[in-house]
């Protein structure tokens, strides 16, 4: 700060001494720069004040500091997680496979559900700009703004416990992102192939299949693979509200206060995520 403070007047002196710039231009430039700095300082002060207020309300006033029990209390509670429970290892395989399956099936189902939404929500191919386009856009917002846990609760209420509500929740949650990217890709296509196919007498289906699909395919496939990667971590928590997979094991270990087992579940999730990241890395390379 001090450096810039001293640097500013000397810079001004140099331009004035050079006499190349007119004095008026220089003052407006420095005035503008000063105003800019003032504005930035105001913004940052505002941000800092808001942060302090948030800290006061949510952390200092709301925390039960007695219960935490000082530094040793926190270290003790963290230490309980570090005693790994290796006896849980054989019981983790099936839930891990289930989690992977929920993520995969959910992503595939999400793609199919995203197809009409993307079709409705893309400005240049939508059947009706005043009826279907807003519907498509609303579906995208709805799918993205409701958290996967809430979707899972709704679907558990609708179809009962098991893997199915997890798959449906993951699918519905993926609709938003996949269809948004797909709709954007459709809006940005090169219209010439579409016109060419129309000109030689192609029908609506042929226009879609030969004109639009090849252009958006790499983007869409990349997005789907990316979404699958995210869906693994979503599928891992579906069990918390009764929908199978590793989340259920996590919930049970937590309920039994077996913190070593909890850590094992977390490690299993980490392994799944690493596998997913490696697979998606190579798959994305292959499709683009």
């Amino acid at each position: 700060m001090a450096m810039t403070g001293t640097g500013k007047p000397s810079g001004g002196g140099a331009t004035a001494g050079g006499g190349i710039l007119s004095g008026e231009a220089a003052t407006t430039y420095f005035e503008r720069r000063r105003n800019d700095r003032m504005r930035k300082a105001l913004i940052w002060t505002g941000v800092a004040l808001v942060l302090l207020w948030c800290i006061q309300v949510t952390i200092i006033a709301d925390t039960d500091w007695e219960r935490i029990g000082g530094r040793f209390g926190v270290l003790g509670s963290i230490g309980r997680f570090l005693l790994l429970d290796f006896s849980l290892l054989p019981h983790l395989l099936v839930p891990a496979i289930e989690t992977m399956m929920i993520a995969t099936l959910g992503t595939i189902l999400g793609c199919f559900l995203a197809l009409p939404v993307a079709w409705f929500g893309a400005r240049n191919v939508t059947p009706s700009l005043y009826i279907f386009y807003p519907i498509g856009r609303f579906m995208m917002v709805l799918s993205r703004s409701v958290h996967e846990i809430i979707w899972a609760i709704l679907f558990v209420g609708a179809v009962g416990l098991g893997a199915l509500p997890g798959i449906l929740a993951v699918a519905v949650r993926s609709i938003g992102f996949i269809s948004k990217i797909t709709a954007e890709a459709i809006e940005n296509i090169d219209p010439k192939p579409v016109e060419a196919i129309r000109a030689v007498g192609g029908n609506q289906f042929q226009v879609m299949y030969y004109g639009i699909l090849p252009q958006i395919m790499p983007v869409v496939l990349g997005t789907i693979i990316f979404e699958w990667d995210i869906n693994i971590r979503r599928a891992a928590v579906m069990g918390l509200v009764g929908a199978g997979g590793l989340g259920l094991v996590f919930f049970r270990q937590m309920a039994m206060f077996n913190y070593g087992g909890v850590t094992m579940v977390l490690l299993a999730i980490l392994v799944l995520i690493i596998i997913g990241e490696i697979v998606s890395h190579y798959a994305r390379k292959a499709v683009t």
Partner: protein
């Protein structure tokens, strides 16, 4: 004659043109087959009834219309609920801010081109960002609740971890895409790694970082609406209570509030980022 023969050996017969040549097609179709087999196996393994899958959406619609339909909108105006909405916003701001602040050094470590040390700091940064990203925010909430106890502090910490993972990945992608010439210039004048980061890297990514931070807040707000479900404070707590007490109309009211607030936050963050992009051009 000899040069032509050596450079371009003619194939015996001109091969038939196919859209995909031989090994590519094989890989493509076997990958597709593998995915399909995995799907079929999972449907069998998870014991899914396809009729139930197809019937799920009509049933969800029926249940929403039947049990959730007249949302108890009066509950939204409840003083304590409004307070919890404010708390949710505060939690998301704090979690986003802490997460972004912690993510910047981690992203510095985790970007391959300017990292401090490729064998010590690079894997450390990568692993911590990936660990934060791998564990879902609800699981972070449960973990912090067991360590710290119920309340917003646990929620803020969980959101912080979530934001480290989210922002750290985007930050390190951004850093890896910078122009390396200023960095080299600074290095050649003998600048240390911190000086290189502050004067060579940060000016290039500053505006992008601010944009990513706003986006991170947006996503953190979405996550903040549910951390309360697992004891992290905020409006999620009311959602959990209403869900477990089977007060479906109240759940519907809370869900509508969440959708409205998330839409507003999306509009706000989009507007801020658009202004930022305008500033970048000017």
């Amino acid at each position: 004659m000899s040069s032509q023969d050596m450079n371009t050996p003619r194939p015996a017969a001109p091969p038939q043109w196919t859209r995909f040549p031989f090994p590519e097609t094989l890989i493509r179709y076997s990958a597709l087959l593998g995915v399909l087999v995995f799907l079929a196996w999972s449907v069998h393994f998870l014991n899914l009834d396809l009729q139930r899958v197809l019937g799920a959406f009509p049933r969800l619609g029926a249940i929403l219309a039947d049990r959730y339909f007249p949302p108890e909108l009066g509950f939204i105006l409840d003083q304590r609920f409004l307070m919890s909405v404010l708390n949710t916003i505060q939690m998301s701001i704090l979690g986003g801010a802490f997460g972004v602040l912690l993510a910047i050094p981690l992203a510095w470590f985790a970007s391959h081109n300017v990292t401090l040390h490729r064998w010590i700091f690079y894997p450390f940064g990568r692993l911590s960002i990936m660990g934060c990203r791998a564990i879902h925010e609800t699981i972070w909430t449960i973990l912090f609740v067991t360590v710290i106890g119920f309340g917003m502090f646990a929620g803020v910490l969980a959101l912080t971890m979530f934001c480290i993972g989210f922002a750290g990945k985007l930050f390190s992608d951004e850093i890896e895409a910078i122009d390396m010439k200023p960095v080299e210039a600074l290095r050649s004048t003998g600048a240390g790694p911190l000086q290189v980061f502050v004067f060579g890297v940060l000016p290039q990514v500053k505006i992008a970082f601010v944009g990513i931070s706003i986006y991170t807040w947006d996503v953190a707000f979405r996550a903040a609406t549910v951390v309360g479900f697992f004891g992290g404070g905020g409006m999620g707590w009311y959602l959990q209570r209403a869900t477990y007490e089977l007060q479906s109309t109240r759940v519907a009211a809370i869900l509508l509030t969440i959708i409205a607030l998330v839409s507003i936050s999306e509009v706000v963050s989009g507007w801020l980022r658009q202004r930022l992009a305008g500033e970048r051009l000017a």
